[in-house]
Symmetry: C2
Subunit: 434 residues, 2 copies
């Protein structure tokens, strides 16, 4: 690597070359400070005009904010400097000059709306708090992978170009594939089941999913990151255990490893790992409790899907993460198994954050005949899914799994207002670029 | 989790329930053995017909191969059993009966062609050697991520639906995005550069890329996994160091953690981590050495791209991984920087395995004016890429990076013949399903 010291590693007595962006220049007359920023933090560069070479001073103080500079010099202790040290420069190089008219202020002093921020992500990501979100996102994904491996899962990758959607032809983006019609996959569901039926048994995948939903809300994306699990010889209760473990792994890792980032986000004091087991409410209990809150204009009846307002009312009532189990079969997809004791009730479950749904899962239908029946009951042609259904004739074990919204996990963990804040380059109905 | 013991964990004296597939039934008359297989291995179940309940014997020996069974009983030492232990069953449950006519033999005794294997991946993945490939693939990706973090990189995810391709309109799959034309991204190139220009500085991504190339060879896929790196304040030599570190991390992890899998693939004796530094040959040296091998009908001249036969001849000559550096500028894309001392020479490099190219990288053009020139020289309209180019006006640091083919890494590490063996569900011109 090039001869460069990160600002966070500069110690008094060192002779260093630090490289980064001009965060700010404070000119006090005879003395001036250039604040240089890199990925690890900021450092003060001191210019004593009368004692330094004119060229050096002119170069150092003449460049526009956000220009990239390399400064070589000695590090000295300076209690009044923000980090307790400063660099006395011997050489300053303007590596990449910035236009003085910035479309967005990375110092964060001038607010920008989300759209301007997304149009200028490079500049936006020079802000400590925005950088912190994506450092935390990476740490969450690392911790999630590690926890899945503790659950004896193997990471897989399934195709994103597919001949048929998971749940039929709705809400799919069509693609032209060498003259054939194909789609971008809305879920790895069918593929992960095919692998759970093999010797690999337990799998997870973290990858993109694509949904052509016309929703335009602060919690929907048209391209999102799905965190998927599927395990042979698991039932829905096992899958709930795994889902709970994965969500907790995210919080635990952030608490353990992201202190500086939480600080940058102003969350250092309030951040907390969810305590205790997530309660498991049946769908029936859930609608009763929602009705009891009196928040809805109309009472829910058995068979209704839960409206957003209902989820929020229940979330406020429960006050933490919780599961909703035993959903009516008819509002869950064909691949979810029904309970043996009551075919009106499915093994499907959702894991809810008080603000929104995070996870949807269940035990899967592994019996070939019942699976074919399920397709037909939902108006789908089983022949179109033969590549999937035929494997159920050759010893498909009972299995269960779930899909967890990656951006929703980041968003709820950090209390972000809009899911777009948890994606570098979000895709929605209005936004296709950058 | 359900009350279940993995076969590999069954110890003499234990009372267990093992669950898995019927791998084989050996009926020797008065005594018969059922070999049960799960993700961790195989275990022998002993049926002594005269001493056991008829129902138990009939159930255990009556089901077809690949049926899923659960067997409860006691584990006993038995030196003649393949794993040194066997289970004396007290209860046998047929969990999921298999059709006796299998489209593919998971015991591996009957060979199947690749197409049949891919059509029946669930059964194919019940073979030890095939399972081993995907366990190793997962371990390689884990090790690669870990090494990137040691290089101070942050994992990112960039969009797969894009308004413009990285290198213009060729070889892109078109998609209809809410009535607008869009494409599936062929590389995270432009997006990772936009993030390298922010405080995040060093990034990696492991994700799908999509290329509508008409190639149909044993080393091309139309949907592949790209392992991408981009680092601010790095030059091409730094990027080569990272690429070499990542490839070695893959080999080291396989050697350290995948002994059983290498055994299943018959590679336990021959597998070796590449030794020493990968040599760095200039493009000029490379064509000279290829010409000297006499393997090509026509001599290469400066400016030619290297034909596959040339790569193979040079690979055999070098005998291990190597870099090719200093490529002619005109055969490298617009975002690769040229050398200051000779604008005909680029900073682009390839990392080669003796069998094929693995990595393509270089220092990037970070100077706004030169970047715009580069677009124009390659016949691309810079206005279409304004979301990208405009960020180069606001302090874009020098940066370098690379893209590494994930499947090619797995394929060359394990000496697989066909890249499709390294993907669960490959996509090529003929294959869109499963």
């Amino acid at each position: 690597m090039q001869d460069r010291t990160y600002t966070a590693d500069a110690e008094p007595g060192d002779h260093v070359t630090v490289s980064g962006w001009i965060h700010e220049i404070r000119d006090l007359g005879g003395i001036a400070f250039l604040i240089l920023r890199d990925s690890t933090g900021k450092i003060q560069i001191k210019f004593e005009k009368d004692e330094m070479d004119d060229d050096l001073v002119e170069t150092g103080l003449g460049a526009a904010r956000e220009s990239v500079v390399s400064v070589s010099g000695s590090v000295e202790e300076e209690p009044r400097a923000p980090t307790g040290v400063e660099v006395v420069p011997e050489e300053v190089e303007i590596v990449s000059a910035a236009d003085p008219e910035l479309p967005l202020d990375p110092s964060g002093k001038v607010d920008a709306d989300l759209s301007t921020r997304l149009d200028n992500r490079t500049l936006d990501l020079r802000k400590d708090d925005v950088q912190a979100i994506f450092e935390i996102r990476a740490e969450i994904m690392r911790a999630v992978r590690e926890r899945f491996r503790e659950f004896r899962c193997t990471e897989i990758n399934t195709p994103k170009i597919v001949a048929t959607g998971t749940e039929g032809g709705t809400e799919l983006f069509p693609i032209t594939y060498f003259g054939e019609e194909a789609f971008m996959n809305q879920s790895p569901q069918l593929f992960k089941q095919l692998i759970a039926g093999s010797n690999v048994e337990r799998v997870f995948e973290i990858g993109p999913i694509f949904r052509a939903e016309e929703h335009n809300t602060p919690r929907h994306l048209n391209e999102a990151t799905s965190i998927d699990f599927e395990g042979a010889f698991c039932d829905e209760s096992d899958a709930m255990d795994v889902a709970e473990g994965i969500v907790k792994a995210a919080y635990e890792a952030v608490e353990r490893n992201c202190g500086e980032e939480l600080e940058a986000l102003g969350l250092a004091d309030e951040f907390a790992v969810p305590e205790g087991e997530f309660p498991r409410l049946s769908y029936e209990e859930a609608i009763e409790r929602i009705n009891a809150t009196g928040e809805l204009d109309e009472q829910l009846v058995w068979g209704d899907d839960l409206p957003t307002e209902g989820e929020k009312a229940l979330g406020a009532d429960v006050g933490g993460h919780y599961f909703i189990t035993d959903w009516p079969s008819e509002i869950k997809p064909f691949y979810i198994q029904d309970h043996d004791h009551d075919e009106q009730l499915s093994t499907g479950f959702d894991l809810m954050h008080p603000r929104m749904e995070l996870v949807s899962g269940g035990q899967r239908e592994h019996r070939h005949e019942k699976l074919i029946d399920g397709f037909e009951q939902q108006g789908l042609d089983p022949n179109e899914f033969e590549y999937y259904t035929k494997m159920f004739k050759y010893g498909m074990p009972p299995h269960a799994g779930f899909g967890l919204g990656g951006e929703r996990l980041v968003m709820t963990t950090l209390g972000l207002e809009n899911i777009r804040e948890a994606v570098l380059f979000p895709r929605d109905r209005q936004r296709l670029s950058p």
